[in-house]
């Protein structure tokens, strides 16, 4: 992970671009994640100071949203729905097969940095369960072949 010295200038730019907004924290965090692929712990004090918030408050917001990452994800992010409708359609089985195929558990990234596997609770695609999402793209009625989507 890069250290804070490498981030501070870029963070300052992001803060500059968003500080005029009302309630700028979430847009700033999105921009940070877009810039670095994750929200490094080391940038929290700088964001907090700029917004007259405490470090703890920013930490509370960051951790509330699962999509703000603490560490960079793999090149692909594969999300499998774990909610009731998908479970009824065999999501557990798909999840087990995907985990075995990739050799990782939830929240883990393959050693080659290719893919990060994450559970998600409802993608709004209940009619086509089990549902998955690959890099933001929805996939309905998925099975273990979904791993081919993240093969390279």
């Amino acid at each position: 992970m890069l250290d804070s010295a490498d981030h501070s200038d870029r963070i300052a730019e992001i803060l500059e671009a968003h500080q005029h907004l009302e309630g700028p924290l979430l847009p700033i965090l999105h921009a940070v994640q877009a810039a670095f692929g994750h929200v490094p712990q080391s940038v929290l004090p700088q964001i907090a100071k700029a917004l007259n918030l405490s470090k703890a408050e920013v930490h509370g917001v960051v951790t509330f949203y699962h999509d703000f990452r603490e560490a960079p994800a793999g090149r692909h992010v594969l999300k499998l729905c774990r909610a009731e409708a998908c479970q009824a359609m065999g999501a557990d089985r798909v999840a087990g097969a995907v985990k075995a195929a990739l050799g990782i558990d939830w929240h883990e990234t393959t050693p080659d940095g290719r893919v990060t596997l994450e559970p998600v609770f409802c993608l709004g695609l209940c009619a086509c369960g089990p549902a998955a999402m690959v890099d933001g793209r929805l996939i309905g009625r998925c099975d273990v072949s979904v791993v081919e989507e993240v093969a390279v």
Partner: protein, 958 residues
């Protein structure tokens, strides 16, 4: 709030302030409460307790625990009573079959994720979760904890990822996440009550956890200031005082007053036997309203520290080791020496210093000792070195030597000027009340050389920070007045009605001169004219304007002038005589106001009446049966000068460490060394005691009855919680000494001393222990005209008649920077340490601050080759010392800053003997210095350490 002894009812939500009353029916009873009150509180007022977990009356309602559900006729569902406000005619039911079932269900869920180790839990008998389980009749828990937060390992021995270990990093309290019910009370207390925002809830859903700071922080590493608000708010054992974990629950409590700063917080001292278990802030304390800081709440361990001296000691010469003796022998020795000195060198050759740490009654007795027994007026107090200019400046302009408001006033203020004060460190409980008001929209102007925490922090941002160059306060204050007068922003109606119009015109002509404009003074002050103009406009036009100031104003060669300038500003803008305004000195010590009131100054008898006034003297002479000298006596610096000259030979110094706290340490030590009898009356062998011949061990504030007077003139009771460990309360020691000197004093309780004070002092005429018992506290003046005391002063007219405008010409201090000493040193204090640190250094507070460091701007550090943490030599024209550097842009280039909490550093070796023109208050805040890299402690520091060790030897008992 955990309040099981002297149950202090928790009403669940804060009181509503509306004047509009609403009547509703709760469980068949009619209840009338102010509009905006919650149903929970209305029920509590009617004596009906609705079960609750996340609500407490120090915090706004939150509505998360779902235990306080009620039914309201004609409304759907079961709303939470804490978040539902009352409305006229509501019919509320707090208990029925449906509610019972719902509450039990909720409790089952809570308990299913809670360790049931009640018998070995620190909160056993003092736990709201336990109480609520009882209240809802929980008999069975249907859920089995599969996923849980409280088991370190599952049954097959695998670690539970949801379990977090206990955080013991804070020296005073522990955080045990396993017991947490995530009610958010601690997080809300940190935000709403303390205003630090050090806590948060991290994660969501089942993963929600209370977190100090961010991911890698613990309680100590986070922004936490250890004020104890979270511990006070926690309903379970999750956040618990370590003293409770060590000792157990207390069995009795005594209401008393904190002995640290001038805020004067009320506390409950909670005890088991005569062991102090904990101090908790008292909800009904009018200065603190249930809040506390790390010092008052936790740093009381000094009272039982091993360094405390419990036996009187004497020695012939300061080169000898101490010899422990009986009280009688110590008194005889001290009295014969003092008598001998007076016989040999005359009546004026001895004197006293009263303590601002002791009670009013004790300070009164010490000044009476010099006036009625030594027969001179050689009395002074440490206010000499802090707020004597306040006494002078406010006395001249308004007619009283004290602040004009109570602390509640801050709730009504719209614009606050903080000048020369750092409330978050020096007066933390007031700072929390101020921050609360700022979060509600009040504006803040900070005038300080240093960027204090209030300038920019979580949910606080000063509208203007004027980084004044040390020593130029007068120029800044006058420039503010210049803007207000020349732009016509003054409150002319107020000035015409309340102040002397001719004097105002003279003053207006003076401040209007172009050389007082912000543009002209910028060269001196370093403050940007545009900022200063904007600040002046804001203060003059922003609504209720209040000025709070501290030692950064007074401890200057022109301290009194700045105080006068501040008073002028308040009069100019009509900000006197109602809530939300006023001039408010933040007094440093718990009883510095009181020790001044008690006649500790050499020219004033109790109640600020001059010794030259025959009528006043007569009253005292009649009561005391002696003739009082009509010449003012010596001030502390004069005593020391006279000692060096050989005409002042004996000193009784009560609870003050002048060697460490007074400026120009070398001069102080030379003065003390020249005396033939120095009596030190203190808890510890302090630095002054290195030069003492007699040591009277003192009693702590827990061991005596009396009163302290805080910065808002509030007389608070100090109550004896335990017997004095060394045998006598301080007032008894002074009385024993007076008796040994031949006086016929026969006080048997401090209330008799207060009665005598009331008889002799018009502003205290109505004060008695009975009244304090009845009212809790009272603000002087308290007399026939104001039998319940005076929260706000100068309401209809100034005490002196017409408010007096006085010209405030800026005169530069003689302490100037030059090629040899190019930087300006200013001094201050830090949250965790108090004054010279005699008490706080003997507590676990040292984890936050174990040495004084020198703050220096990166630019100044770089040109000197100084890096973070390096030893540097700090030298002035007076002396030099060494300490470590901390590089920060909190200070401006050209300014360095340090604290004076540690005797090893002795920052006062550096400070000069320049002082306020009117009152001799030393100019601590401005010293020209040079900073250079160093290898370690200076020669002087090593010599001093050696001398200290030598002079603290105590002979083994025979």
């Amino acid at each position: 709030m955990k309040d099981f002894i002297i149950p202090d009812r928790d009403f669940g939500t804060p009181a509503a302030k509306s004047k509009q009353m609403v009547t509703l029916t709760i469980d068949g009873f009619d209840v009338t409460v102010p509009e905006g009150t919650s149903i929970m509180r209305a029920a509590a007022e009617a004596g009906i307790t609705v079960p609750k977990l996340c609500a407490t009356d120090s915090l706004e309602a939150f509505g998360s625990c779902r235990l306080c559900l009620v039914e309201i006729e004609g409304r759907n569902g079961t709303p939470a009573s804490c978040t539902t406000p009352v409305a006229p005619g509501l019919k509320v039911h707090t208990q029925n079959a449906k509610l019972k079932q719902l509450r039990r269900g909720v409790m089952e869920l809570y308990i299913s994720d809670h360790p049931l180790d009640c018998l070995t839990c620190a909160a056993n008998g003092d736990c709201e979760l336990q109480d609520m389980a009882g209240a809802v009749g929980l008999r069975d828990v249907r859920y089995e904890a599969v996923d849980n937060h409280f088991k370190a390992k599952n049954t097959s021995g695998e670690a539970n990822p949801q379990w977090l270990p206990k955080d013991d990093s804070n020296p005073y309290f522990a955080y045990d996440p396993a017991k947490c019910i995530v009610c958010s009370r601690c997080v809300r207390a940190c935000e709403e009550v303390q205003g630090t925002f050090a806590l948060t809830i991290e994660g969501r859903g089942f993963d929600s956890r209370v977190s100090f700071g961010a991911k890698t922080d613990n309680a100590l590493a986070s922004d936490c200031v250890s004020c104890g608000a979270c511990v006070q708010a926690c309903p379970t054992a999750t956040l618990t005082e370590k003293s409770i974990i060590d000792i157990g629950t207390p069995e009795r409590s005594v209401i008393t007053t904190c002995a640290y700063c001038g805020v004067g917080c009320s506390f409950k001292a909670e005890l088991r036997g005569d062991e102090l278990v904990r101090m908790t802030p008292y909800k009904h304390g009018k200065a603190n309203r249930g809040h506390s800081c790390v010092k008052g709440r936790f740093a009381y361990g000094y009272a039982s520290h091993k360094d405390r001296i419990l036996s009187p000691m004497i020695r012939d010469s300061i080169e000898d080791p101490w010899k422990e003796v009986s009280w009688a022998e110590a008194m005889a020795f001290a009295a014969s020496r003092m008598k001998g000195i007076q016989e040999k060198y005359g009546r004026q050759s001895v004197g006293v210093i009263t303590s601002s740490r002791c009670t009013n009654e004790e300070a009164y007795l010490v000044q009476k000792l010099t006036r009625a027994v030594f027969m001179n007026n050689n009395t002074d107090t440490c206010a000499r070195v802090c707020h004597s200019p306040t006494g002078y400046g406010l006395g001249q302009t308004f007619g009283t030597s004290a602040g004009t408001q109570d602390f509640d006033s801050v709730e009504h203020t719209d614009v606050v000027i903080i000048i020369g004060a750092n409330p978050t460190d020096g007066h933390p409980v007031f700072a929390s009340r101020l921050k609360k008001r700022l979060r509600k929209g009040a504006k803040l102007i900070v005038i300080d050389p240093r960027r204090i925490d209030l300038v920019d922090g979580p949910h606080v941002k000063a509208a203007h920070h004027l980084p004044v160059r040390p020593g130029t306060n007068v120029a800044v204050v006058t420039a503010l007045a210049h803007v207000i007068v020349t732009e016509g922003l003054m409150d002319e109606a107020f000035i015409r009605e309340r102040c002397d119009w001719d004097e105002f015109q003279d003053y207006a002509e003076f401040v209007s001169q172009p050389n007082h404009s912000p543009e002209a003074t910028e060269l001196l002050t370093g403050v940007k004219p545009a900022d200063l103009r904007a600040a002046a406009r804001l203060f003059a036009t922003g609504g209720n304007g209040a000025i709070y100031y501290g030692l950064g104003v007074t401890e200057h060669s022109q301290g009194s002038t700045t105080v006068i300038g501040i008073a002028n500003l308040a009069m100019l803008t009509g900000n006197i005589g109602r809530p939300g305004v006023g001039v408010n000195p933040l007094r440093g010590q718990n009883n510095v106001q009181g020790s001044c009131d008690m006649g500790s100054f050499p020219h004033e008898l109790p109640g600020y009446r001059h010794v030259k006034n025959d009528a006043v003297r007569n009253v005292f002479e009649e009561m005391w049966g002696v003739k009082i000298d009509n010449e003012p006596g010596l001030r502390i610096p004069n005593m020391l000068d006279a000692a060096v000259e050989g005409t002042f030979k004996g000193l009784y110094c009560q609870g003050e460490d002048i060697l460490q706290s007074d400026p120009d340490t070398k001069h102080v030590s030379a003065g003390l060394a020249a005396m033939e009898c120095v009596i030190v009356h203190d808890l510890f062998l302090n630095e002054t005691a290195n030069y003492a011949h007699v040591f009277f061990p003192g009693s702590s504030f827990l061991e005596k009855d009396g009163t302290f007077t805080n910065a808002e003139r509030r007389i608070n009771r100090v109550r004896k919680v335990m017997a004095p460990r060394q045998g006598y309360a301080d007032w008894e020691v002074t009385q024993l000494f007076a008796q040994a000197m031949g006086a016929n004093w026969t006080y048997t309780h401090p209330s008799q001393i207060m009665d005598e004070i009331a008889l002799l002092t018009p502003s205290f005429a109505g004060v008695s222990y009975e009244k304090l018992e009845e009212m809790g506290s009272v603000q002087w003046p308290c007399n026939e005209a104001a039998p319940e005391g005076t929260p706000l002063m100068h309401i209809d007219g100034f005490v002196r008649g017409k408010g007096k405008f006085i010209r405030t010409e800026y005169v530069a201090t003689d302490e100037r920077t030059g090629p040899r000493f190019p930087l300006l040193l200013t001094t201050g204090r830090i949250l965790s340490q108090y004054n010279v640190g005699a008490q706080t250094r003997r507590t676990a507070n040292v984890v936050w601050h174990d040495e004084d460091v020198l703050e220096i701007h990166p630019h100044d550090a770089e040109v000197r080759g100084v890096k973070e943490g390096d030893w540097v030599r700090l030298a002035s024209r007076s002396g030099d010392t060494s300490l470590r550097a901390k590089i920060t842009d909190r200070v401006s280039p050209g300014v360095v800053y340090t604290t004076f909490h540690h005797p090893e550093t002795q920052a006062n070796v550096i400070t000069t003997d320049f002082s306020d023109w009117a009152t001799n208050c030393p100019e601590y805040k401005v010293t020209a210095v040079q900073v250079s890299p160093s290898n370690g402690p200076s020669e002087w520091q090593r010599d001093y350490a050696e001398r200290t060790e030598k002079s603290r030897r105590i002979l083994a008992a025979e």
